[in-house]
Symmetry: none
Subunit: 401 residues, 2 copies
Amino acid sequence: MDIHALTRELQVKNDSKIVMLVADGLGGLPMQPGGKTELETAKKPNLDALAKIGVQGASLPVCPGIAPGSGPGHLGLFGYDPIQYVIGRGALEATGIGFAMQPGDVAARGNYCTLDANGLISDRRAGRIASDESAPLAIKLREVKIPGVEVFVEPVKEHRFVVVFRAPGLAGNVKDTDPQAVGKAPLQALGLDAPSEKAAAIANEFIKQATKILAGHPKANGLTLRGFSGRPALPSYEEVYGLRAGAIAVYPMYKGLAQLVGMKILGKAQTLNEQVDVMTQYWKDFDFFFLHYKYTDSTGEDGNFNEKVKKIEEFDAVLPRIQALNPTVLIVTGDHSTPSYLKAHSWHPVPTLLVSDCCRPDGHTTYGENTAIRGGLGQFEAKFLMTLALANAGRLQKYGA
Amino acid sequence: MDIHALTRELQVKNDSKIVMLVADGLGGLPMQPGGKTELETAKKPNLDALAKIGVQGASLPVCPGIAPGSGPGHLGLFGYDPIQYVIGRGALEATGIGFAMQPGDVAARGNYCTLDANGLISDRRAGRIASDESAPLAIKLREVKIPGVEVFVEPVKEHRFVVVFRAPGLAGNVKDTDPQAVGKAPLQALGLDAPSEKAAAIANEFIKQATKILAGHPKANGLTLRGFSGRPALPSYEEVYGLRAGAIAVYPMYKGLAQLVGMKILGKAQTLNEQVDVMTQYWKDFDFFFLHYKYTDSTGEDGNFNEKVKKIEEFDAVLPRIQALNPTVLIVTGDHSTPSYLKAHSWHPVPTLLVSDCCRPDGHTTYGENTAIRGGLGQFEAKFLMTLALANAGRLQKYGA
């Protein structure tokens, strides 16, 4: 089922404002049988007050049992089927460091490796070279010159970097050059169709020049490229929903994901309160605001239950400032669960809260995992959250006569 | 959406153990308005104790309103979309009597019929000939000899038998020979493509020789063949989930269904306690155990509410022995509902209970239809039960970065 075929046909414009607050990895688990989750433990008077006038549901990021990464997790929330729309490894890596890929670009994730005297890989991660040692190498690799091609090299963490090739007529259907084993030489890049062959030839020339530049480095004297991919072809928010959308995020990954669906990146906020300042500043200029809050995920990944509780409480504290803007539709959700108990993204449905004057409240008085699964929105695939948002904002006509 | 594309990509191995207990036809109905179902009536202290630490949901075997047979019911539980994967009538009949079809085999369901002096069918079911009279006929039909073809004939109940043809290059796209009316002659088998034409020619030769063998029998002097079908091409548990799976069933049908997805048939248990003995014996050697319990279905089919209650109580009684094995994930479910009130398989969602250390308990304290529909797993298609099982066992990586 193509949701966007519907929203393209049915969208109408009005003066409504939709705010989607994404607390990353929001859902959790109790630490012991009979216990409460992080969200259920947190003191969150503002969220609970919203629960009384809102409707809850349990959002499935992909399908039952599947834990998503940040990419598919956010695509779902943005209304893009996360199975249908796949962001390749290289494109996600570029997106994650804030590189704005253009249509036709091909990105790959690079690894520095150690080559022995025979050119065979002796360490696939260059001795896990430190970031401060590897970052200057990426800058040096910008010296590679290929006629007719723009080459962008960006450092990532430790042995990783990103390379993006920009030239007409490229595609990313290119095989990895990483042989996935030591004692073997890096492979040649191999394109699986004509435009990908062109990209592969460029990649091979890049590797040739780069290997010369790296020659003599004690650890990082070679490289492999993986996850070649173009910019995913995602239709824009403007087109599929008729929304002028702005994104207010601190971390590059979430800015990048928002950019892929055509959101404008707003401000340079570093704190939650600064993010709300930015929202306030741009309130008149946009129809839809995506605000990303990272720390519910990172504390969950650390397995720090108490700290995740605290981060939820800090999140709760800024809500009155957002409510004061009087959004037509206010949504609180997460891109997936990150239970401290598991120290990882999980498959558990995400407690999701939607407030509007016509949301049909479900009678719950608190917001949490156990109320969400019994909420008025039921269990629903995350990709339907945007149609719910549009409907509550009066931005969708009826379907059929 | 292809679930197995996901599970193939995301599966990881570990030492976890998954146990799926299938009480056939578990779901029920009250016998009068305001009454309780069989499951709600049963005294089931062990299931209720599991409900307190587990999570429930209502499993839809196919989709709302569709009552499945045993084939699609189990395929769903095993994670195979029951609409996408179809087991032909002949193949199901062969499977149901425990015949292990090989890829390339073509099976058909046979009916004995009565032919008049002109070779026209006067009784399509040979006077509903008794099983003890029809079984020896199947044995006699094994005398049919077709060069280059192995022919297997197996008795079923009353006027039914199964025939399987084994030869290179066969397919099951063959029309029934049953004219579906008395006063007509049996039809010739007709293949709808080249390999099916070959199977049809073999079937026609079989019919010719078989009719000679049956000649003179007062009731069963003819036959018709229906539901020609090959072995369904189901990818194996090992391949799609990375699981070494064992099946512990008493009835041939369920052993056969398990075999079709590559499970090993374990032991020769006749009672539930013997089934648990078998599970205990093989505990170290398998990652996944499917245990099938028939009597919740057969008592429901009989319309015997009290007896179904008793069978649920007997099922409950063996649970502590299974829990003592300490499975990582313990699932209790059914392949469909068989309400005594309807004396038949039904479409009602099946109360399903999943217990693991990270299942996110939903706060229910009993197990039943009314708690399941308000459970933490919500209403879900049965085909997602396996992804939930794998996730809870830590056997799935996250999807996308």
